[in-house]
């Protein structure tokens, strides 16, 4: 119970590090086929470490990420990357500015080989092949295999590798451990922890043990709004009242060895 419950909308930066945020989202509204899925979301992502984006199913976490990237229709609001507006740009330009994306459900190109999936993602003059290969040695062995024939965990490695191939300003990672075996969850979490040493990450994650392991700060969404921001994801997760109110679940046991 050490956290101060800021249950009012909190437009201030989640990070308390004093540095300027890498990503600032203000009053973002977005819709899919005319149905509003993001209603006035305001938050910012600190320029170091992992920030968790939390909330129950269907509160608009994935939609917020997609709206930042322009993958769904933005109705209003602004998104700034290091102070420069990016919400008027088409998706590919936003990504070129240095916003890496690891989508929910991985979205690897099933008919392309692992090597082709990775090559497709290379946009820098000097893509970070060594880093990716050292993080995911398994992918090197499977370079010629069709990505569609990989296991879910391996596909997630491909998806992460695609985002880490370039020198990004921020990564948006959407439910990277969803549907994976516990052992693989640990591997994915370790890879994210390693990646976070070089690039700030906004992480949507339902597995609260993984959030505990990785996240510094947290932003909590409910009904398309930000209802809580904190510098300390752990202290938020320790507060059963808050967790039950905003996530609708108990925190469960602390992670073991993950």
């Amino acid at each position: 119970m050490s956290t101060t419950p800021q249950t009012t909308p909190a437009p201030a930066a989640a990070g308390g590090t004093g540095t300027a945020p890498v990503l600032t989202v203000s009053h973002l509204k977005a819709s899919i086929n005319g149905q509003q899925v993001v209603e006035d979301v305001t938050f910012s992502v600190p320029s170091i470490g992992i920030t968790a984006l939390l909330g129950r199913n269907g509160v608009g976490k994935t939609s917020s990420i997609k709206a930042i990237l322009g993958l769904i229709h933005r109705d209003a609001g602004t998104v700034e990357l290091e102070g420069r507006p990016i919400h008027t740009l088409p998706t590919h330009r936003i990504v070129q500015r240095g916003v890496g994306y690891v989508p929910e459900d991985r979205e690897v190109f099933a008919g392309l080989s692992v090597a082709e999936n990775l090559r497709l993602s290379e946009r820098d003059d000097h893509p970070r092949r060594e880093l990716v290969e050292s993080l995911f040695p398994d992918l090197v062995k499977r370079a010629q295999q069709a990505a569609g024939s990989l296991s879910g965990g391996q596909q997630q490695m491909v998806s992460l590798a695609r985002a880490l191939m370039n020198d990004n300003r921020v990564l948006l990672v959407d439910e990277p451990t969803k549907g994976l075996a516990p052992k693989i969850v640990g591997e994915v979490a370790d890879a994210l922890e390693e990646a976070a040493k070089t690039v700030p990450i906004l992480l949507v994650e339902q597995n609260l043990a993984v959030v505990r392991q990785l996240a510094a700060g947290a932003i909590v969404l409910s009904d398309g709004h930000v209802v809580h921001t904190t510098d300390s994801a752990t202290s938020f997760l320790d507060d059963d009242t808050l967790v039950t109110r905003h996530l609708g679940v108990g925190t469960g046991p602390a992670p073991k060895g993950a």
């Binding site: 993958l71 998706t91 590919h92 994306y101 190109f109 099933a110 008919g111 946009r123």
Partner: protein, 293 residues
């Protein structure tokens, strides 16, 4: 035996023409979700301008024929690229409007061609050798079929190499699977749109010139009649699959020839085949479940 061989080769020849139309249709639909009803116009204009070129150069000369192929190909490519750039691109992601604009362009193009070249078919000729036949195991095979099949084979090989070996080919294959994820990797997928239209138009223009030799005439309606079968081929093969288009082209062409010769029901059989494929394999022989983008 010789009849069967003749039917087989003419069927493959017809399939070759279908493939030149269907390959572009399939790639365009697979990547962009646009059923391109103007594809027949690319073919017709390629055939008409190709024939004009051959006539000026001397229709019975090999130089004239070769140049007509080249010009037909370029005309098809140019018209297709222009169509994508001027009509399709401003309607980005508005699929119904995109389809409607291609329907409109097709109607306008046919009217324009009829205004210039008249409504009657113009009978054409090529180099003398192409009008003759070659004895293969007793079957008298028209020589123009060899050229049609050869050209379609080269186009297929070229497209496969392009899709497998080049970065744009990779972008197109990835985009057929999941267009929005391609943009989310920082790639401007619209450039690939113009490219598939251009490639598809080039193949259609080439197909137009070869089709005019296959049927012996050019007409403003040439593209429209072939387009129907090309659509059927595309659906049977699986929308977005080049290999599927190739296999289905030959299948439909050969089946049509045999059914026409023995029972005069070639067109009917093709529709039956379409129905059977749609009932048993709705995504086509080689179609993938295309991700909703």
């Amino acid at each position: 035996m010789s009849t069967i061989l003749l039917l087989l080769v003419t069927g493959i020849g017809l399939g070759a023409v279908y493939f030149l139309v269907a390959s572009g249709l399939s790639l365009i639909y697979g990547l962009m979700g646009v059923l391109n009803f103007a594809h027949g116009a690319f073919l017709t204009l390629g055939a008409l301008i190709g024939w004009e070129t051959a006539r000026i150069m001397g229709a019975d000369s090999w130089g004239g024929f070769a140049l007509s192929l080249l010009v037909g190909c370029l005309v098809g490519a140019l018209l297709a690229a222009l169509t994508e750039f001027v009509l399709i691109r401003p309607l980005y992601e508005r699929h119904i409007e995109q389809v409607l604009v291609t329907v409109g362009l097709n109607l306008a193009a046919i009217a324009l061609f009829e205004g210039i070249w008249g409504t009657d078919p113009v009978f054409i000729q090529g180099p003398t050798w192409m009008g003759m036949t070659t004895d293969v195991l007793g079957a008298q095979i028209p020589n123009h079929l060899f050229i049609t099949i050869l050209v379609a084979g080269l186009v297929l090989a070229g497209m496969v190499l392009f899709l497998k070996r080049t970065r744009y080919g990779m972008i197109i294959r990835a985009g057929v699977e999941n267009r929005s994820m391609v943009t989310a990797l920082g790639i401007d997928v619209r450039r690939a749109f113009t490219l598939v239209f251009t490639i598809g138009g080039a193949a259609a223009g080439l197909g137009g010139v070869l089709a005019s030799h296959y049927f012996g005439y050019v007409s403003p309606l040439l593209g429209g009649s072939l387009l129907i079968f090309a659509f059927i081929v595309t659906v049977i093969g699986g929308l977005g699959s080049l290999a599927g288009a190739a296999v289905a082209s030959v299948l439909v062409g050969v089946l049509q020839q045999f059914a026409n010769y023995y029972w005069s029901i070639g067109d009917f059989v093709v529709v039956i085949l379409l129905a059977v494929v749609l009932l048993t394999r709705p995504s086509g022989l080689m179609g993938r479940k295309v991700a909703t983008a």
